[in-house]
């Protein structure tokens, strides 16, 4: 379907980003033509297509120019000319690792988790989901972004509804309607954005870069538009009062669905805030920051407390996501380079560690056919390697130094402390609560003497170990040596922060644009000299005319 786009992509250069979307899409279509009686062939095909996508993403990571702060590998073509809609894709430091994470997570989910029935449609939906998620992260056109943002609901709806657990129909419908409701507001806001920007630009376009750089909304207009977008993202993240779909969807989804949902789909919301909230509407973002910070902190504390109370292990992990995503929102609306870099990094970290947690919980369920913490116990005795793997992932989720979760949370907290001190102080308590609910859960599930049912708990199998290994490697690598990631994230984040500062009065306060990696103590107002000069780079991004 989308393969047609490949043919008229740019002159000469391989249209890498288009291919990243097209390959899984073609795979999904190809799967429809496989025989139902040969599921292993379907699985091989799906694995092949997702592995090719993963390889391309890794190649993109290698080729990514870490010194540039603009969009790279840009692919821009007109699509619906009369409405000013283009096929505009690009990747920068903010989306880079999210795409790599997505492209790597899917082959692991496909190889690691077998559905209980009907492999063929299951794999086709997964591949379609992958295309949609990658498309959302790559889109630099409002219309295109909305298309992908919406289309991911369909495969996810069918995955939860078709392969989920007992309450799957309820959870799938709730998930669909909640997110669709958010998108309803976004669609109107998005169209209004393009229509109003037409007055500034002189032509109708849905191009994100054109609108963000060229438009000049009145404050009140921008705020309305921003909230239209924000509702959609807040549902997706999910931010505190809009979170109720998440525990149901996560718990009822099949394991691969939960892994993908927690791993990448929630990031569509936080990514959306960065790309379409802060970048498009800097004034409104800054204006409403107290609201978001407050909701983020409530989410952190609330998610942690509710997680502590859960009897279902999968639900516990689901609520822990609410808390973790709260940190990411906190960092986003702190408007410091450090905090936003931390947020971007934490999006990836959360994807890795929560993805792995759901994977492990899925394995427990496959073995014991229960997720109730009370029915588990003493697993460490019978499956020490499994327990060790769980331990590492759990510690990463808690944010123990030396593992990836710490780096992200630390950056968010020190970055936010400069600009949003009291919120950060409260949020820090959430770190402690995370240790409480996860360690307590670990203690109840793994420690003690196994009873009769748990005594036969099988040890980690070779295949499961191989699927888990990349997660563990990522957890330790990022925890010990995050610099390569931050090097690529920070230029783009700096540019975004400078863009926000340029369009608001926020740079009057030195603490908002603190340079990367250097913690400025709160007492000195003189530590802001080095962050000038970002503003000049703002226009200096790659951009082609379609």
């Amino acid at each position: 379907m989308l393969a047609a786009e490949v043919t008229h992509a740019g002159a000469g250069a391989f249209p890498l980003l288009t291919a990243l979307i097209a390959v899984p899409m073609v795979g999904a279509v190809a799967l429809l033509f496989t025989q139902r009686s040969r599921p292993e062939f379907a699985k091989l095909l799906a694995l092949m297509f997702s592995a090719v996508t993963g390889a391309m993403a890794l190649w993109m990571l290698k080729e990514f120019d870490q010194s540039a702060d603009g969009f790279q590998f840009v692919s821009q073509h007109t699509w619906i000319e009369d409405w000013g809609i283009g096929w505009h894709l690009g990747v920068d430091g903010i989306s880079l690792f999210l795409i790599v994470l997505t492209a790597v997570l899917f082959p692991l989910a496909i190889v690691g988790i077998d559905p209980h029935h009907d492999e063929k449609p299951y794999l086709a939906w997964l591949l379609m989901l992958e295309a949609g998620v990658i498309g959302s992260f790559l889109s630099l056109d409002l219309f295109l972004f909305f298309l992908f943002f919406e289309i991911v609901l369909v495969p996810m709806y069918f995955l939860i509804g078709g392969w989920g657990y007992e309450d799957r129909e309820y959870a799938a419908t709730k998930f669909y309607l909640y997110t669709f409701l958010g998108s309803a507001f976004m669609l109107v806001a998005l169209v209004a954005t393009a229509m109003l920007a037409r007055d500034d630009l002189g032509y109708l376009t849905f191009d994100l870069v054109d609108i963000a750089e060229g438009s000049n909304f009145a404050a009140s207009t921008g705020r309305w538009l921003f909230f239209g977008f924000a509702v959609a993202f807040a549902v997706k993240v999910p931010i505190f009062p809009l979170h109720t779909w998440l525990p149901d969807a996560h718990t009822q989804a099949p394991t691969a669905g939960s892994v993908v949902l927690a791993g990448v789909m929630l990031k569509l919301g936080t990514y959306g805030f960065l790309r379409f909230g802060l970048y498009l509407f800097p004034e409104a973002s800054v204006w409403s920051r107290s609201l978001w910070l407050t909701l983020a902190v409530i989410g952190i504390i609330y998610g942690a407390i509710v997680a502590t109370m859960q009897k279902d292990l999968k639900r516990l992990v689901a609520y822990s996501s609410i808390a973790h995503l709260g940190f990411i929102v906190l960092g986003t609306f702190a408007f410091t380079s450090q905090a936003i870099s931390g947020s971007v990094l934490q999006m990836v970290n959360h994807g890795v560690s929560t993805g792995a947690l759901f994977l492990l919980v899925g394995m427990i369920y496959e073995r014991r056919k229960t997720r109730q913490i009370a029915e588990l116990g003493g697993l460490q005795k019978v499956a020490p390697i499994f327990a060790a793997g769980f331990m590492v992932v759990m510690l990463s989720s808690i944010g123990v130094p030396g593992l990836n979760g710490f780096i992200g949370e630390y950056l968010i907290l020190i970055g936010s402390f400069q600009s949003a001190r009291w919120w950060t102080v409260v949020a820090t308590a959430g770190v402690i609560l995370a240790a409480l609910y996860l360690l307590w859960a670990y203690q109840r599930v793994f420690h003690g003497e196994p009873d009769e049912d748990n005594a036969s708990f099988p040890e980690l199998k070779m295949k499961e170990g191989l699927v888990l290994l990349p997660f563990l490697v990522a957890i330790v690598f990022v925890g010990v040596y995050p610099q390569p990631l931050l090097d690529r994230i920070e230029p783009s984040v700096d540019r975004l922060v400078a863009h926000v500062a340029d369009n608001t009065d926020i740079d009057a306060d030195p603490d908002y644009t603190t340079q990367r990696g250097e913690f400025e103590p709160e007492h000195g107002d003189d530590g802001h000299g080095e962050d000038d000069g970002h503003g000049d780079e703002a226009d200096d991004h790659e951009e082609g005319e379609g």
């Binding site: 409405w83 919406e150 078709g162």
Partner: protein, 504 residues
């Protein structure tokens, strides 16, 4: 029709007639007569030939309309038969939509009515007559002509709705439609009379001139009362709430392919008429009727989507969803109202026509599937249980139509909704756009319910077998492919729809 003005200019001059411009209309009328006469004089035709001829006639009308479209793009719009009919891209677009609906519905109806007492040329002849009436409605440049078209369409529909002689529901549906429709026609006719009283003409061009020159002294009561009555009549035809109450009963009782035709061609014709009357004919009163359109739009959106949720019968669900779609189309009409009568008409009219085209294909496909799955039985939701296991392709096609109706991206349904929302936002009707999108979420629940039944419920053991005849398979397959392909690459259609203008 301006009888008074022409009375003193004897002898009556015969209007010049451009036969080729009228050719789509003449093809349909001639085809209907041919089917009736030849069909009555000859013994039963071979299997499927009636439907084939009917589809051919519809197709020919559509092709002729495309030629005419070219002619209009080259030479500009005009009026025909002494100002009775408009010859513009708007009329031709409606002609193409209605003719296309004839083709698809003929293919669906073929197997459906075969081996029933209804198998014969009559159903197809009535389809063609209804199509001709619909085209006259959408291209009328005179209120009397519009009324003639409306009655032609309606009378054919009344008979078609009641055409299943073995079904009480069908007879009930026909009778209900006839009684209520007769009421609506009366309202409409009275409205015409009052507007004639206010303007001295029923010709749309002359009405505009007369209203523009009326000055401040004139008394608008006659015209406003007329507009109100016209809106009642048209609101009934487009099935906008609160004039929608006939829709679920008639849609449910009528033979399903006929329901498909009502929901596609019937809507296209009625919206064509609505735009002719309001946007072309009464732009000087736009401040007065625009709020009514706003209310009708909101009422249709809310009533349609909420009442669809509580239904158990799929045909009723789709009927209520068609009410909510009417609300969406009214969003486009409301947008067009902001600039009615101005040279730059905005995006409203194009978006309405694009919606009508895309929705027609979707809704014919949807009812086509319902016709196959719930042939004789009541189209209760449980009939669809486990359809994906019994007929995966059919379930797949239905899923595409349902997703499109919900407005999911990469389907034409999204393009259609996006078009009217864009037009609404462009006209700064933000509130209406938001209401429309929020009710779309509620409506989405309906489509999800049907999908859950198809994909996640188990088949009942005693479920009757489903046979998929070739002609219906082609029609449904075409509709599904069109829904996806035009959803992925809509720029051509959008390009054409942007060229839609009304003759002035």
């Amino acid at each position: 029709m301006n009888v008074l003005a022409q009375a003193d200019t004897l002898p009556i001059s015969e209007p010049e007639i451009w036969w080729f411009a009228l050719s789509p209309l003449l093809t349909l009328v001639g085809g209907a007569l041919l089917l009736m006469v030849v069909g009555a004089l000859t013994p039963q035709w071979p299997r499927g030939l009636y439907a084939f001829v009917s589809a051919m006639i519809g197709g020919a009308a559509g092709v002729l309309a495309i030629f005419n479209w070219d002619d209009i793009s080259d030479n500009g719009p005009a009026t025909l038969v002494g100002g009775a009919l408009a010859f513009d891209t708007f009329a031709m677009w409606s002609t193409i939509v209605i003719s296309g609906a004839v083709v698809l519905v003929s293919m669906l109806a073929d197997e459906y009515i075969r081996d029933t007492p209804n198998d014969g040329p009559e159903i197809y002849a009535l389809l063609l007559v209804a199509a001709a009436g619909g085209i006259v409605m959408a291209s009328a440049n005179d209120l009397i002509v519009l009324f003639l078209g409306l009655e032609t369409l309606s009378l054919a529909f009344y008979v078609l709705a009641a055409s299943n002689r073995r079904s009480d529901a069908s007879a009930e549906s026909g009778l209900k439609y006839f009684l209520l429709g007769g009421f609506a026609s009366a309202f409409f006719l009275y409205g015409i009379a009052l507007v004639y009283g206010a303007t001295g003409s029923t010709n749309i061009g002359e009405m505009v001139t007369s209203l523009a020159n009326r000055g401040d002294s004139g008394n608008d009561v006659l015209a406003l009362a007329g507009i109100a009555l016209l809106l009642v009549g048209l609101g009934f035809k487009i099935a906008a709430a609160p004039f929608h109450v006939w829709t679920p009963d008639v849609y449910q009782g009528a033979p399903t392919p006929i329901t498909a035709f009502m929901a596609s061609a019937g809507k296209a014709a009625a919206f064509g008429a609505l735009i002719r009357v309001l946007i072309s004919g009464l732009p000087s009163f736009r401040d007065d009727w625009q709020p009514i359109i706003w209310v009708l739009a909101v009422a249709s959106l809310v009533v349609g989507s909420f009442l669809a949720v509580v239904q158990r019968n799929v045909k009723r669900m789709l009927a209520y969803s068609s009410v909510s779609h009417a609300g969406f189309i009214l969003v486009g009409v409301e947008a067009a109202a902001h600039t009615a009568g101005e040279a730059d008409g905005g995006m409203g009219i194009s978006s309405v026509q694009l919606y009508l085209l895309l929705y027609s294909v979707i809704v014919i496909g949807s009812f086509g599937v319902v016709a196959l799955v719930a042939r004789e039985a009541d189209a209760d939701l449980s009939v669809f249980d486990g359809l994906a296991k019994r007929k995966p392709l059919l379930a797949g096609a239905f899923t595409i139509f349902l997703l499109a109706q919900a407005g999911v991206p990469f389907t034409t349904g999204f393009i259609a909704k996006f078009g009217v929302i864009q037009a609404g936002v462009d006209a700064e009707s933000y509130g209406l756009a938001i209401i429309a999108m929020v009710t779309a979420v509620i409506a989405a629940f309906v489509y999800l319910r049907i999908m859950v039944a198809m994909w996640q419920k188990d088949v009942e053991d005693d479920a009757p077998a489903i046979t998929v005849p070739v002609s219906a398979a082609i029609a449904i397959g075409f509709a599904a492919v069109f829904t996806l392909v035009a959803g992925l690459y809509p720029s051509l259609l959008i390009d054409w729809s942007d060229a839609i203008t009304l003759v002035r």
